[in-house]
């Protein structure tokens, strides 16, 4: 029967592998039960009166129950893997459907921005060890259940996508670590206690402490790389041909943010100008950063602006774009939700229009000012500039007037503190960064293609 199934959701090997994953999760949580029993203490449980006035129960009990369920699930997988047709521990359709329906670029971007905001607002909560552990377990459960879906597995399980999943966990862990340490230090500052780094400034010797650590890391990394190279085969494809582009055609994973950016901008902007601005902007950070705090220790409260700005550029605008490009962009660069089949013929309405068309045709109800055929440059220029006046004005306003308005209003303290030149560098870097989400939102909201569209001069913004 297996060979008749079109897209077998489950195969024996997947179930068997998942069994080991659940077993590993059980072991992790068994250790956590021990830790929780030693540290977390008790809670009062009354179960709505069933237990009378209530009873003292260690928090570890809940973890033990959870670990026990994991163990049973693992046993189910490890014993029932031979019969995938009857296996029913799948990602429930009731979860898949809403996720599929809610998935679109807008929801993705808005969602990642909301997560970014929550991450900062709730930093005190989610950096506690228990909260971090819950989040880790939830993400692992989500991943393990989703792998039972054929389409999800095809994408996430692709050998060149597996490391990106690992990278997401690493990014998550280090973000968590940063917020945990800075929350701790901010508390210490508030209470007038010395910083963690001051209190624990024990110095160790390079030899042997550091060198031994490095040796161990070297051995571990080598072992992981060898195992990885053996287990996951390199995804080689057919010989390259100039006449045939793979569909979808994807950049290396670390450039998928750039590729996503290219969807919204002219190649000259997204391929040359904005990457250069990113690089130069990162180099300019020491120049524009006048905040001396946070030097040599973790802190958030003392560097709110710097950390929030950097994290916004890094998490929603770079990492989330990599996720979007890797997992959610399919053939013809269409958007596909996580459990959706990558259909080459998926039809998406993407009729984009330029701002000039929006203004002249939709706004004024008249055709675009047309350049007469065979016109010289001097004849062309005024017509083209008149055609694009709104977009040009908007860009000039955005890059020239807006920094000054900001200097007079919201960024006044920065302007006063930094001086004209440094402030202008900062303001323009920020505006350049914000141009990406603005352009994305405009594309999604009104199908805007270019704010200034002068293909005659290869100039599009």
């Amino acid at each position: 029967m297996i060979h008749l199934t079109h897209n077998p959701d489950l195969t024996s090997s997947v179930i068997y592998g998942l069994g080991w994953v659940y077993l590993l999760m059980f072991l992790m949580n068994a250790v956590w039960v021990k830790r929780s029993y030693a540290i977390d203490g008790n809670c009062q449980l009354s179960l709505g009166g069933i237990l009378g006035k209530g009873q003292q129960i260690p928090y570890a009990t809940f973890w033990a129950v959870y670990a026990g369920i994991l163990l049973m699930v693992a046993i189910t997988h490890l014993t029932g893997w031979k019969n995938p047709q009857q296996f029913s521990l799948l990602m429930p359709e009731i979860l898949k459907e809403p996720i599929n329906r809610a998935s679109n670029p807008v929801a993705f971007f808005v969602g990642s921005t909301v997560i970014y905001v929550l991450m900062i607002v709730l930093r005190r909560w989610w950096t506690t060890p228990t909260a971090g552990w819950i989040l880790l377990n939830l993400s692992l459960l989500f991943l393990a259940l989703s792998v039972t879906d054929y389409d999800f597995r095809q994408i996430v399980g692709k050998p060149d996508n597996v490391p990106i999943v690992a990278m997401l966990y690493i990014v998550g862990f280090f973000t968590w670590l940063y917020f945990k340490k800075s929350v701790d230090n901010d508390d210490r500052r508030a209470a007038g206690r010395p910083l963690f780094e001051q209190e624990n400034s024990e110095k160790v010797l390079t030899w042997p402490d550091l060198v031994y650590t490095e040796l161990v890391c070297m051995v571990l990394v080598t072992a992981v790389l060898i195992a990885w190279g053996i287990v996951l085969q390199a995804p080689l494809e057919e010989p390259a041909s100039a006449a045939k582009t793979p569909n979808p055609s994807k950049a290396p994973w670390y450039f998928l943010g750039l590729q996503e950016m290219l969807v919204y901008f002219d190649p000259w902007m997204a391929g040359v100008v904005l990457p250069s601005v990113i690089l130069v902007g990162l180099m300019a950070v020491p120049y524009i950063d006048f905040n001396k705090m946070g030097n040599g220790y973790y802190t958030f409260n003392e560097r709110k602006f710097a950390v929030s700005t950097f994290l916004f550029g890094f998490l929603p605008l770079w990492v989330a774009m990599i996720v979007l490009g890797t997992f959610l962009r399919g053939p013809n660069w269409n958007f596909f939700s996580p459990y959706e089949f990558w259909d080459v013929h998926k039809l998406e309405l993407l009729n984009n229009i330029n701002l000039s068309e929006l203004f002249w045709i939709k706004g004024l109800g008249q055709p675009l000012p047309a350049v007469p055929a065979g016109a010289s440059f001097a004849q062309q220029a005024p017509i083209i500039l008149m055609r694009e006046w709104l977009g040009l004005a908007a860009v000039v306003f955005y890059l020239v007037a807006l920094p000054n308005i900001m200097a007079a209003t919201v960024f006044k303290p920065y302007f006063v503190r930094m001086g004209f030149l440094r402030y202008m560098v900062l303001a323009n870097l920020m505006l350049m960064m914000m141009s990406l989400p603005i352009k994305m939102v405009l594309r999604w909201a009104v199908n805007l293609k270019y704010i200034v569209a002068i293909p005659e001069w290869f100039f599009n913004i």
Partner: protein, 433 residues
């Protein structure tokens, strides 16, 4: 007290010039704004600088200064016994010699009016550097002003300051803690004792060098041989050309006159070319020439492996109305499109299969009736007009005509861009009637 300073005063009148009293003079002038680390570094430059700067703050009149000078004279007379009398000639070669001062009444105002140049009291490194520069430029006249004050009445002769102007202590003076006048005087007295014991042996040296034990400022590097041009033998191309011309001339004359002597001379001249230098030049010119020729040759390869830019794609009847032919895409990178959707005219044209966004190869999707690029999702109608995704302009047309044998012939060496109005060009399409 490490710093010793000596004034060599030209003293024709035999009057004793007292450098210690000069210090006191300075100290008193500085009473309003005491010298920082007084006594530790009494050196001419900073002295003069301090004097200047303090004067600037207070602007003492000539009368004030003269009064102070008179007070100094009394003190000098008292201290005379224990101070070394230093006499010296004016070193003729001394570049920093003070301008000849003829009378005290002139000297003092000079000192008083100088501060305008000196700038305010040094507080930052910048100020100190400025002070050093100011001191370095004209230290003599200013430095001399203090001693002039003491020796003025009897010193019509030019006054020469003690020589090389030490720069280092300025920093020390400027950065140290401020001292009260009493502390300053105290330190000065200590300095007097220390310096007095160490002074005489050095003072005897005619060529005055002030030993400075303070950490010296890094001196400006002075080019040692500046001005003296290195005398290298110049045997460049000019020499080479001369030798070559000469030898050529000799050989030519030898040939014309059939003289073996001239021949021999010509060959000798060529041998002269074989000096290492000439040989190197010859070699470099030869190799450069060969490379240039090789590069030029590279531009004209024997075999061109690219497809011809003009090729036949079959008769009109191969391409039914409103179809896109993928037939030539792999080989030549073009689509042949036959459509009546562009301006309502029934025409055939060749579209380049290069996306106008970033150059990927789009696919013709027959079901959707559009070209779709897999890289960033740009979409084009059958006519080549862009309508979705980021592509900023339509696909490009290639030249197309009906050849003499009735076949369609594509010319890839020309392209026609719609946004430039070039699609109106009759060579960009073939009208079907």
């Amino acid at each position: 007290m490490n710093h010793k300073c000596f004034l060599l005063l030209g003293n024709s009148g035999g009057a004793v010039n007292n450098w210690l009293s000069a210090r006191e003079y300075v100290a008193r002038i500085n009473q309003d704004a005491p010298l920082q680390q007084a006594g530790s570094s009494f050196l001419h430059t900073n002295h003069s600088f301090r004097v200047k700067s303090n004067m600037e703050e207070k602007k003492p009149s000539t009368a004030d200064i003269l009064a102070k000078i008179r007070a100094q004279k009394a003190a000098a007379a008292a201290a005379q016994a224990e101070t070394p009398a230093i006499t010296a000639e004016i070193p003729p070669a001394e570049p920093v010699a003070a301008p000849a001062v003829t009378s005290p009444t002139v000297t003092a105002p000079v000192a008083a009016t100088k501060p305008v140049d000196a700038g305010p009291k040094p507080s930052s490194t910048k100020d100190i550097m400025a002070a050093i520069r100011a001191g370095g430029v004209k230290p003599a006249g200013v430095a001399a002003s203090a001693p002039v004050a003491t020796s003025a009445p009897v010193a019509p002769a030019p006054i020469v300051p003690a020589a090389a102007v030490p720069k280092a202590p300025v920093a020390a003076v400027a950065t140290g803690p401020k001292l009260s006048p009493q502390e300053m005087l105290q330190k000065m007295r200590e300095a007097k004792v220390a310096a007095g014991s160490a002074a005489p042996p050095v003072a005897a040296v005619a060529k005055v060098v002030v030993p400075v034990a303070a950490p010296p400022m890094p001196a400006k590097p002075v080019a040692a041989g500046k001005g003296a041009k290195p005398t290298t033998t110049q045997r460049g191309l000019a020499g080479l050309t001369t030798v070559a011309t000469l030898s050529g001339l000799f050989l030519l004359l030898g040939y014309l006159t059939d003289s073996s002597l001239l021949y021999g001379l010509g060959l000798l001249a060529w041998a002269a070319l074989l000096t290492p230098f000439a040989a190197a030049w010859t070699a470099i010119a030869g190799i450069g020439g060969i490379w240039t020729l090789g590069t030029a040759r590279f531009m004209f390869p024997n075999v061109l492996v690219e497809p011809p830019s003009k090729f036949k794609v079959g008769p009109l009847s191969d391409y039914p109305l409103n179809t896109v032919s993928n037939k030539w895409k792999d080989q030549f990178g073009i689509w042949i499109v036959h459509t009546d959707q562009y301006e309502g005219r029934n025409m055939i044209f060749a579209l380049a299969s290069v996306c106008t966004h970033l150059g990927c190869t789009p696919n013709w999707l027959d079901g959707e009736q559009k070209f779709k690029c897999p890289c960033h999702g740009s979409g084009f109608y059958m006519t080549g007009i862009n309508f979705e995704g980021p592509a900023p302009r339509p696909l490009e047309r290639m030249g197309l005509r009906i050849a003499g044998d009735g076949m369609l012939e594509v010319n890839k060496s020309v392209k026609y861009q719609e946004e430039m109005g070039q699609w109106a060009d009759a060579t960009s399409y073939v009208e079907v009637v």
